[in-house]
């Protein structure tokens, strides 16, 4: 291999306090690397990433005329940029730097100091061999489109969209449901302040609806995302609501005049506790204030569908709704799904969560005993605009006068679908607090005796522990133990007609049976059912538990592995409203930071073709997913449009004539790296 002359390498091995030095003999590595050809100086230092550490590099570059720098420390995903900047500050091209990962890939994962040190030597040698072949590279600057797409109109999406819009950016807010608001719109009060959720959320929702910088597309879904940071092309499906959004005034005359005099169909917003008509508005404060028609039940549609799943207009209904709408002519039964294409520079994913399906724990009787409720159902029951107008009435059981009965005792079971090996391992973080909130509200509404069954009470938040103390003072019962089952099998006369909660009280050390009228299951939070598809759409990663993965839990908590795509809210993991809003603000700020710089710097690892070597075989052309490789018919040579190249190197790996070069990952660089890790003595013996 031809080796450039006049190579002057500086090598630095970082102790990272004890993180590396405890498992790798850093001075020995430095001493060994110092003997390799081309290495002018080799040092070990306590913290290379610190200011003095970086200054050391800068000084050495000037003093010793270094023209290559290698640092063996943590992962390049953490500090490559730090050291590149340091090298650049001393007047060297930043791509004359290479980083060796001896912390995440070595000291933290090994237990034998001798072998870990040997591995560090091998990795360092590979970098020394490789960096010799590095070339100076220019960072490419690509302009960034200032518009932003926010996916999901829950509190996270709403807050992020408003932040961005108030900063003067044009925002597209896409929401799958007919109205924005998400889960928060269903809540009655929020813990620990007991603020009314609607009082906080509704003004923000209407601000979104009327903001000149926000294009709100509800009842819409993102179906395709192309492009890259700064230049995304997104296709959004606007589902047919059979109403012209721009013509509908939200007067709701059509709902009043529907041929169905009474609401008859399951109202999903109220968790199925209420009824609605075929033409409806999801809830009074819905934004946009636009009705929609459900073709599944509307009489003007046939019950069978087109082969592609689209509804067929039957024209059998009297269409009293159309009459009521009159001159506005907002109703259009022939409306079709529509695909809109937009261009944005950054994307915020705020797609939220779903609640755990309580049927998956049959021992708790949800779906078997009517008086077992989920917490979200109870949120609707205690809500003044809910299906019962805020009265807590049981599904089963009547008073002697025939009116629905109010519960006199209520059991709230915590951790349903959380902290459980059979369902989900994680703590859903909000259930303790919302259970206590519901305990307070239920006591307020019914005066019932309330029993909380918990494993641990987790109240880590401002004012949360105080709220717990308040509940204790209010006389709410707390029983520590995971509930075994909920049964209607009575053993004593007092238990007749009640639901009996069987639990081992782990503080008293006895098994107890507690009869109650109503059971509330504090269901945990889960990733949305379609999270895997959404993840693919935006090229994100999921953790093992299914939540979207942030780039780094502490250094980049709202970034994803795809540049320009940010996360906020519960799609990243369970969190409460304050944390969600804080995260949404952070995601908006990250997006703003990108947009306001005006350009993105792209890693110059793109590929180019050595024209004299290219045989014109065209093998590479179909390999490129970005169609960056083009063919010059006249000269019978392929060439690469570097603006489109993303730098994966797939074409390089398959060019039969070896005529494609990927910058920063040139064949020679990688072959040197291979030679480097394998050169020298074989690995030392295992300890016996």
């Amino acid at each position: 291999m031809n080796r450039p002359n006049d190579i002057r390498i500086g090598f630095y091995v970082c102790h990272c306090g004890h993180n590396i030095a405890a498992m790798v003999d850093c001075p020995a590595v430095a001493q060994y690397v110092g003997t390799l050809p081309g290495v002018v100086l080799s040092r070990d230092y306590k913290y290379m990433c610190s200011d003095p550490g970086q200054e050391l590099i800068r000084q050495d570059i000037r003093e010793f005329g270094l023209n290559r720098v290698v640092v063996a420390s943590c992962s390049p995903l953490l500090h490559e940029q730090t050291f590149r900047s340091a090298v650049e500050a001393a007047g060297l091209n930043p791509f004359y730097f290479h980083m060796v990962n001896i912390r995440e890939h070595n000291s933290w994962v090994h237990t034998d100091r001798i072998r870990a040190t040997e591995k560090a030597r091998a990795l360092a040698r590979a970098a020394i061999e490789r960096v010799v072949h590095h070339k100076p590279l220019e960072i490419v600057k690509v302009p960034i489109h200032p518009d932003v797409l926010v996916v999901g109109g829950g509190i996270a999406g709403i807050h992020a969209a408003l932040t961005l819009a108030n900063a003067g950016k044009k925002v597209y807010l896409v929401e799958r449901e007919p109205s924005i608001g998400g889960h928060m719109a269903k809540f009655d009060k929020t813990f620990p302040t007991l603020d009314c959720a609607a009082c906080i959320l509704t003004p923000k929702m209407s601000e979104v609806g009327s903001h000149p910088n926000i294009t709100l597309w509800s009842y819409s879904e993102v179906v395709k995302v192309d492009g890259f940071v700064g230049n995304y092309t997104v296709q959004v499906k606007r589902k047919a609501r059979y109403i012209h959004e721009d013509l509908c005034t939200g007067c709701q005359d059509c709902i009043a005049h529907c041929v169905y005099k009474e609401p008859k169909f399951e109202d999903l917003f109220n968790e199925g506790l209420g009824k609605r008509k075929p033409v409806y508005i999801p809830f009074p404060q819905a934004t946009p204030q636009v009705v929609l028609i459900d073709p599944e039940v509307c009489l003007n549609f046939k019950r069978n569908k087109n082969p592609d799943g689209t509804p067929i207009v039957s024209d059998k209904c009297k269409k009293t709704c159309v009459e009521a709408c009159g001159e506005k002519r907002a109703i259009d039964f022939t409306q079709k799904d529509e695909i809109r294409e937009i261009k944005v520079g950054t994307i915020l994913v705020c797609t939220g969560f779903k609640t755990f399906d309580a049927r998956r724990v049959p021992a708790y009787g949800y779906g078997i005993y009517p008086n077992v409720y989920t917490a979200l159902e109870v949120e609707r029951l205690v809500n003044a605009s809910g299906p019962t107008g805020g009265e807590v009435l049981l599904r089963e059981g009547k008073n002697p006068d025939g009116t629905p009965r109010k519960p006199r005792s209520i059991g709230i079971i915590h951790c349903v679908g959380s902290r459980d090996k059979k369902t989900n391992l994680w703590c859903s973080r909000v259930c303790c607090m919302y259970s206590m909130k519901l305990a307070h509200l239920l006591k307020e509404h019914t005066g019932a005796e309330i029993y909380n069954f918990y494993i641990d009470i987790r109240t880590p938040g401002k004012g949360y522990e105080e709220f717990y103390n308040k509940l204790l003072e209010e006389g709410t019962h707390f029983i520590r133990g995971r509930v075994g089952e909920v049964t209607d099998w009575a053993m004593t006369p007092e238990e007749e007609g009640k639901l009996v909660i069987r639990v081992e009280d782990t503080l008293a050390g006895v098994v107890r049976r507690i009869p109650v009228d109503m059971v509330v299951l504090a269901t945990g939070l889960e990733p949305q059912a379609d999270a895997p598809e959404v993840r693919r759409l935006f090229n994100m990663s999921c953790g093992g538990d299914g939540w979207f993965l942030e780039r780094h839990p502490k250094l980049a908590p709202v970034n994803t592995f795809t540049d320009g795509v940010f996360l906020a809210g519960c799609c990243q993991g369970p969190k409460d409203i304050p944390d969600t809003v804080a995260q949404a603000g952070a995601a908006a700020a990250e997006a703003l930071a990108l947009i306001d710089r005006g350009y993105v710097e792209q890693e110059p690892n793109t590929a180019y073709i050595l024209e004299q070597e290219c045989s014109g075989c065209k093998s590479c052309l179909p390999l490129c997913p970005y169609t960056a490789i083009l063919f010059d018919e006249g000269r019978q040579k392929a060439y690469i449009n570097e603006a489109l190249c993303k730098g994966c190197g797939t074409c390089v790996g398959s060019c039969p004539s070896g005529s494609i070069v990927q910058k920063l990952f040139e064949d020679q660089e990688i072959f040197s790296e291979i030679a480097g890790v394998l050169a020298g003595e074989p690995a030392p013996a295992e300890p016996s």
Partner: protein, 185 residues
């Protein structure tokens, strides 16, 4: 092919070269580190932007320079950061596997794994598993074998030349001009 196993040095431990995709397996290995998962120190990781960058020559080069195994880590099908680089690698890997089998290189020595950025535990498991498998197979020791084969070929050439010399001068053939070692170099 594993004729060397009889003479495995007592202090031998496998050396595995790994080519990891920057976006998934490399990050997963970082995660394994952050989670302090412990695994065998036999793997030397080389970072690439995509498993699609892995040229089969990298694998062959590593083996011929003394690696006892090669591990390639890419994104799960459908998850490639560059849309489909991992599929391109899979195709090459299938062809390469057939070729390696013909060369007598045992299958467990070259392994392709899909490991997402969240699967630190899989990095640990795969590396431990592969290290154990290769330990059981013994050294591949291609450089030593190359040297051994060179010696055999040279010895054979010497033998032929000696036989020719014994058979007396041949009218068709000029006298050999160079030593056999030079012929083979």
């Amino acid at each position: 092919m594993n004729t060397a196993s009889a003479s495995v040095p007592r202090d031998w431990s496998p050396r595995i070269v790994a080519f990891f995709c920057n976006w998934c397996t490399y990050t997963a290995a970082d995660l394994a580190g952050v989670s302090r998962l412990k695994y065998a120190p036999n793997v030397r990781i080389i970072r690439l932007m995509c498993s699609g960058r892995v040229d089969p020559q990298f694998v062959l080069d590593a083996l011929s320079r003394g690696a006892d195994g090669v591990l390639i880590g890419g994104c799960h099908p459908g998850d490639c950061h560059y849309v489909e680089g991992n599929y391109k690698m899979l195709r090459r890997y299938q062809l390469l596997k057939r070729m390696l089998a013909d060369l007598g290189i045992e299958e467990p020595r070259v392994r392709l794994e899909w490991i997402s950025a969240a699967e630190g535990e899989k990095v640990q498991r795969v590396i431990n598993e592969m290290t154990e498998q290769i330990k059981a197979l013994g050294p591949l020791a291609l450089p030593q074998k190359f040297a051994e084969w060179d010696r055999e070929v040279i010895a054979l050439a010497r033998e032929l030349r000696a036989r020719d010399a014994a058979a007396g001068p041949c009218p068709d053939r000029a006298a050999p001009a160079q030593p056999v070692e030079a012929l083979h170099a």
